[in-house]
């Protein structure tokens, strides 16, 4: 399945995932504490520099990932334009943009396998309390495998609907999609049990 990891290889790809996550946590907490507009503009400039240093294609990809924020930036602009508190609005909007951009940076430069690896290592101490990291790994693998499978089947159901009815596909299609999820779950459980179980 497609992930959000950037196909453009950058030096940040080679940094260990755990250090990037810790760094992100530290930066985000620091950013949250900032109250000065110039400090936030500086942080924003810094984030933009890191993106651009990783290449123009990478930066464009990063900018595209910020696109879902525009409705909120519009709301902030309208709100603070109305109240006249422009500085407060810029601080809130700037913080949000920088925080999301930094978090995206970690996601874009870390492969899914490395992320899963960090989760497994972090979950390992829980084994002492009866949790089983292997079960978590199986669950993650199942979701990654079955999301496209279920997606395909949902697409086929949609096509069958359109072939037989002149009405648009509506919510009724959710029932057979859910039914397929239930039946797949039952079959996969049997298959795992037949292979020795978890």
């Amino acid at each position: 399945m497609l992930t959000l990891t950037s196909p453009f290889e950058t030096p940040l790809h080679r940094v260990a995932a755990a250090s990037k996550l810790l760094g992100l946590a530290a930066f985000s907490i620091g950013l949250f504490a900032l109250q000065d507009l110039w400090a936030i503009i500086l942080a924003g400039g810094l984030a933009a520099t890191v993106y651009l240093a990783c290449g123009l294609g990478f930066a464009r990809f990063g900018a595209a990932m910020l696109r879902p924020l525009w409705p909120f930036l519009t709301i902030l602009t309208l709100w603070h334009g109305w109240t006249g508190e422009w500085v407060a609005g810029l601080i809130i909007g700037g913080k949000m943009l920088v925080a999301v951009a930094l978090a995206n940076l970690v996601t874009m430069t870390t492969r899914l396998e490395d992320m899963i690896d960090v989760v497994e290592r972090a979950a390992a101490p829980l084994a002492r309390f009866g949790a089983r990291p292997k079960v978590l790994a199986v669950a993650i693998a199942l979701v990654i495998r079955f999301t496209p499978v279920l997606m395909d089947k949902a697409g086929q159901l949609g096509q069958a609907w359109r072939a037989r009815s002149s009405r648009r596909v509506n919510w009724r299609i959710v029932l057979p999609i859910s039914l397929m999820a239930l039946d797949d779950a039952e079959r996969v459980a049997e298959a795992i049990r037949a292979r020795g179980g978890l």
């Binding site: 990932m65 709301i75 902030l76 709100w79 949000m96 996601t107 993650i140 199942l142 999609i177």
Partner: protein
């Protein structure tokens, strides 16, 4: 054990699929994302504990960088954006919806509707509005105004969750784990 894991995983996948399938529209022709419907179904079909874990697994995979949220969003940036409350609220919403279906004796369709309404709408919006208020630096009432437009659609989805859960209970009574 195996059954628990596969049901949780497949329903996490179902949340993703319902958010990504583009062609679902309501009777009026208004396109909706059915992602929160998937969260409701996790609770009403799998019950409180498994529903919670399925939604948690989904949220965890979004955090790891899979673009599973509606519109193909995902990654750690989601947790710094104004919609963070809704995403974090998914597991709790599924838990509450499942808990209500498990603990009431009403017919499954009605119980699922009630569970989806309280868990999937009321609880989810409390989380969602709180997150939005924090990130956008606005008061709680102001933030709730921003999301008010989405509430009617979600009320309809709670009704659909009731119908669908009832349908599944009729077709696969042994698979609707919330009532076993």
């Amino acid at each position: 054990m195996e059954k628990n894991v596969t049901y949780i995983a497949l329903f996490a996948a179902l949340i993703a699929v319902l958010g990504l399938v583009p062609q679902i529209s309501l009777a009026s022709g208004v396109p909706i994302t059915a992602q929160s419907l998937g969260v409701m179904l996790c609770g009403t079909v799998l019950g409180a504990k498994r529903g919670f874990l399925a939604a948690l697994l989904f949220v965890g995979l979004v955090a790891l960088g899979l673009p599973l949220l509606s519109g193909g969003r995902g990654g750690l940036g989601v947790f710094a954006s104004p919609t963070v409350g809704f995403v974090i609220g998914f597991p709790v919403a599924a838990f509450v919806a499942g808990f209500i279906v498990e603990k009431t004796r009403a017919a499954i369709g009605i119980a699922a509707f009630g569970g989806a309404l309280i868990g999937g709408v009321l609880v989810l919006y409390v989380f969602g509005i709180t997150g939005m208020a924090l990130i956008l630096g606005k008061s709680w009432p102001a933030a709730s105004l921003l999301v008010a437009a989405y509430i009617p659609g979600d009320l309809i989805k709670a009704g659909l969750a009731g119908f669908i859960t009832q349908g599944l209970a009729k077709l696969r009574p042994e698979s609707v784990l919330s009532r076993l």
